[in-house]
């Protein structure tokens, strides 16, 4: 069994491009070009250079001593929170803006939930001097105000999505509609490993720099390239895909995907897609999604805007169904407690999305000599209000 994409754009039975004909020329143009463009030496050179000098890569692989002492195992943190703009999202937007330029696109659109992807997109658009329009759910605009301000400062236009649940799913719908209305000059920078083929694969490849670095960083620190566990939170699944990428086919490496259980998996207010979802189609991809028996997509809930999505990318649907990755769900409260613990033990304030990954330390027992890598996907500055409210600080 392979855990990578096949030549038809599927991971096992998941993936594909279930899109209206109006999107076909755009998606097809991308499909025909993305691998070619990514393989061009000039593309690679510019991508690597920007990741190094602009984003600040490689991001450190940090041995978390006090956390390791507490949980009696060896815990390393992959510090994506230290990237420019504060999360892993920028790895993908740097790659996609270079792709858009090579395809001759002049106008960039994006969706955003927490605002991290919106900020990362607005940032690269400012860097390259391209017009930027970001769709964001009305509810997310209210709960992620600092990121809205950042996008505006960076010159982006933020358009509220007012349909449906007014969160990430609806922002994605609006971005797709914009793309239908602007089929020639516009590139849609999707923020995760979701959407029609080739997006899941393209975004995974841009994020793959994370596991590529983990390999040589571990070699330096531990004398071997492979950890025993890689743990990452999953919204759409891009930080997880990036941190798993080079370990996908090495089944000695245990992959743990952490989903947001909200107020409890069966509370009716949850975003734990693998536990609650069924196979279906969302945003152009065949994957697992939360839906009614009748096939209507349901409204997810999580305290973390970046995990508040009713689907997962097709790679993750395949990792779940094949059993390659273990899926664990973590409630709002568990995530918040683990987030605060990381502050106290390591002096790092994590994004609430990332806090979900740390809660696994209370749910699983690791051996003393296990090497456990946790992908610290983002920093918590954007979430201070939520932390303050939650803990009455």
């Amino acid at each position: 069994m392979t855990y990578n994409i096949d030549d038809k754009g599927y991971y096992g039975e998941f993936g594909g491009a279930y899109i209206p004909e109006m999107l076909y020329p755009n998606v097809e143009e991308l499909r025909q070009n993305y691998l070619k463009v990514m393989a061009e030496p000039s593309f690679k050179k510019e991508f690597d250079q920007l990741l190094k000098d602009y984003v600040g890569r490689p991001s450190p692989l940090y041995f978390a001593k006090r956390l390791s002492d507490k949980y009696k195992t060896k815990i390393y943190l992959k510090r994506e929170d230290l990237n420019h703009t504060g999360a892993h999202k920028v790895n993908n937007t740097i790659g996609q803006i270079l792709m858009a330029q090579r395809l001759g696109k002049k106008r960039i659109i994006a969706e955003t939930g927490a605002g991290q992807h919106g900020v990362a997109t607005a940032t690269v658009c400012a860097l390259m001097g391209l017009e930027c329009i970001v769709y964001m759910g009305e509810i997310d605009i209210a709960r992620q105000a600092p990121n809205v301000a950042r996008m505006k400062m960076l010159g982006a236009t933020v358009i509220p999505a007012t349909s449906g649940s007014k969160t990430l799913k609806d922002a994605t719908n609006e971005a797709i509609r914009d793309w239908i209305n602007n089929p020639v000059d516009t590139h849609y920078i999707i923020g995760s490993v979701v959407g029609p083929h080739p997006y899941p694969d393209m975004v995974a490849r841009f994020q793959a720099v994370v596991s590529e670095e983990i390999q040589w960083q571990l070699k330096e620190k531990e004398g071997k390239t492979t950890p025993d566990y890689v743990i990452a939170c999953v919204g759409g699944g891009s930080n997880a895909a990036g941190s798993y990428y080079h370990y996908l086919e090495d089944t000695n490496v245990n992959l743990i995907a952490v989903e947001a259980a909200g107020k409890g998996v069966h509370s009716g207010e949850s975003a734990a897609t693998s536990a609650l979802g069924k196979e279906g189609i969302i945003h152009g991809s065949k994957t697992l999604l939360m839906q009614t028996d009748d096939g209507q997509i349901t409204e997810p809930y999580s305290i973390s805007a970046g995990l508040d999505y009713p689907g997962v990318g097709p790679m993750h649907a395949h990792l779940y169904k094949s059993g390659r990755a273990e899926f664990i769900s973590v409630t709002d409260n568990e995530a918040m407690t683990s987030g605060l613990e990381l502050c106290k033990l390591e002096g790092i304030i994590p994004a609430i999305e990332s806090s979900h990954a740390f809660a696994v330390l209370n749910k699983k027992t690791f051996k003393e000599d296990d090497i456990v890598v946790i992908n610290l996907s983002g920093r918590g500055d954007k979430d201070l209000d939520t932390y303050i409210k939650h803990f009455d600080l």
Binding site: R177, N181, G280, I281, D294, Q296
Partner: protein, 254 residues
């Protein structure tokens, strides 16, 4: 012969109307169909509402959201349509997104369509290649015509391919847009309409998106076999209710 093919042979320009099943109220579906036929509509697209209609603008989105709130489901729709063939004889097409059909079971869905007398399906997010590979046989088994879309950006090669696998009509999207977002046709569209007309495709074309009144209907049908009105009809339903359906249709085809 399928009712769609029979209708396409008639020597006239065809008016097709799209409406969202279960809107404005849950049980309006059959009444709307009957009124449409009586007032001279040639073909009907019954919209199966979906929570996330990607190809639709605000009007159809809002009617879909309301229809779902009203309690519309795939089962409810088939129940409403149970005796529809004792009431109307014009072609009936179900237009909807793929996920609800997938959850119902594609074969069960097709069978049910045949049972109640549905003639065809329009599924914007079911790609041509997936249809060809996985579902064509099932659609044909139950006598259903699958209608494909083309747009101004569709390449000539792809149009010819779509023509070759179609056996009813081709749904020609008038401009690069979601539903309901245009008013009036400019030179660019006329050029596109003429370009497609010149291709002499084996399937007739029916133009949709952006048709709202007598003028746009006439413009479109100068270059095609017929035209489809959706958002404008729904706006009229919202504003004036079911009693004004007749006036609306007459104002288009006068």
């Amino acid at each position: 012969m399928n009712r769609i093919n029979k209708k396409l042979k008639e020597d006239k320009k065809l008016l097709s109307i799209y409406f969202t099943a279960g809107y404005p109220t849950l049980n309006d579906t059959v009444t709307i169909i009957e009124k449409l036929e009586k007032s001279g509509t040639d073909m009907i697209e019954i919209g199966l509402p979906f929570s996330d209609p990607l190809a639709d603008g605000p009007t159809i989105q809002a009617s879909s959201t309301q229809a779902l709130k009203n309690g519309m489901t795939t089962n409810v729709l088939f129940k409403q349509l149970k005796d529809i063939r004792q009431r109307v004889s014009i072609p009936l097409i179900i237009m909807g997104y793929f996920n609800p059909m997938l959850q119902y079971g594609v074969e069960a869905f097709c069978k049910k369509c045949q049972d109640v007398g549905i003639d065809g399906l329009i599924i914007p997010d079911l790609p041509v290649d997936v249809y060809n590979e996985k579902y064509k046989a099932v659609f044909e088994k139950y006598g259903l015509i699958n209608v494909f879309l083309i747009t101004p950006q569709t390449s000539e090669k792809r149009i010819n391919f779509i023509d070759s696998i179609s056996n009813g009509f081709i749904y020609m999207v008038s401009s690069a847009s979601v539903t309901g977002s245009n008013s009036g046709f400019g030179d660019e569209q006329t050029k596109y309409f003429k370009r497609i007309a010149k291709m002499n495709l084996k399937n007739p074309q029916i133009i949709g998106f952006g048709i709202s009144d007598n003028e746009t209907f006439s413009q479109a049908t100068q270059h095609a076999k017929g035209a489809i009105i959706g958002s404008a009809f729904i706006k009229n339903l919202t504003k004036s209710g079911l009693s004004k359906i007749d006036n609306f249709i007459k104002s288009i085809i006068n």
